[in-house]
């Protein structure tokens, strides 16, 4: 899953936090560009269909947000 998301052009980072059957997926995009967002959601929908008993919680954010979050945490 991680590699498929990372292979999408415009995706700059993927972090997955698994807690049992729950997966918290943080996807960072170069920009809030819908064409890229669309491809990420395609992956989310594919996972939803493939693993109906698991929970995938996607958090998609632009890179500058991720960067500012890290700065604030430092």
């Amino acid at each position: 899953m991680k590699q498929e998301l990372e292979n999408i052009q415009g995706v700059t980072g993927v972090e997955i936090d698994r807690q049992g059957d729950r997966y918290y997926v943080t996807v960072t995009l170069q920009d809030l560009e819908f064409s890229v967002f669309d491809k990420v959601i395609e992956q989310e929908l594919a996972l939803f269909d493939k693993y109906p008993n698991k929970s995938f919680n996607f958090d998609i954010m632009p890179e500058y947000v991720k960067a500012s979050s890290l700065l604030n945490a430092a």
Binding site: Y24, T26, L32, N57, M61, P62, S68, S69, A73
Partner: protein
């Protein structure tokens, strides 16, 4: 529990509010995007209420329902959610035309899709008995992540 009309009214009011804002002011611009997302949220809850479903408890549950019952709107809905989150929590990231070019077209698309679906399916307004019958305890859902 709010009924379908309550959600519909709330959705329309949020959409009207977004349209009424003077977008030349930066603070209005962000709130127009936020109002668009909440309008979309109430449009989907309007559809679920007409089905006789209980109101979604959180974003995770609502997302699952949108994927299950309104899949064709999920990309637009999810994008609006991300735009709204960016507008509320972060100090940059929205272009000055995010409402006109991104938020509003997606909100209109969601509203049109739901209106079309309601007409096509003639989704009946659920009676209190039907609502009670449909109710079943939901499995425990994870708490939605909050931005740090």
């Amino acid at each position: 529990m709010p009924r379908d009309k309550d959600h519909r009214d709330k959705a329309d009011l949020n959409a009207e509010f977004a349209d009424s804002l003077d977008l030349s002011l930066p603070v209005h611009h962000g709130w127009a995007v936020v109002a668009s997302f909440y309008a979309a949220l109430h449009y989907v809850e309007y559809y679920f209420a007409r089905r006789g479903d209980q109101q979604s408890q959180d974003h995770v549950e609502r997302n699952r329902r949108v994927i299950t019952h309104l899949r064709d709107t999920y990309k637009d809905y999810s994008f609006l959610y991300t735009l709204s989150k960016t507008a509320r929590y972060y100090c940059s990231g929205l272009g000055t035309d995010a409402y006109a070019t991104n938020a509003k077209p997606r909100l209109v698309s969601i509203r049109n899709f739901i209106d079309h679906l309601v007409t096509k399916e003639s989704v009946p307004v659920a009676s209190p008995e039907a609502i009670k019958k449909r109710f079943a305890p939901e499995p425990e859902r994870p708490t939605p992540g909050k931005p740090s």
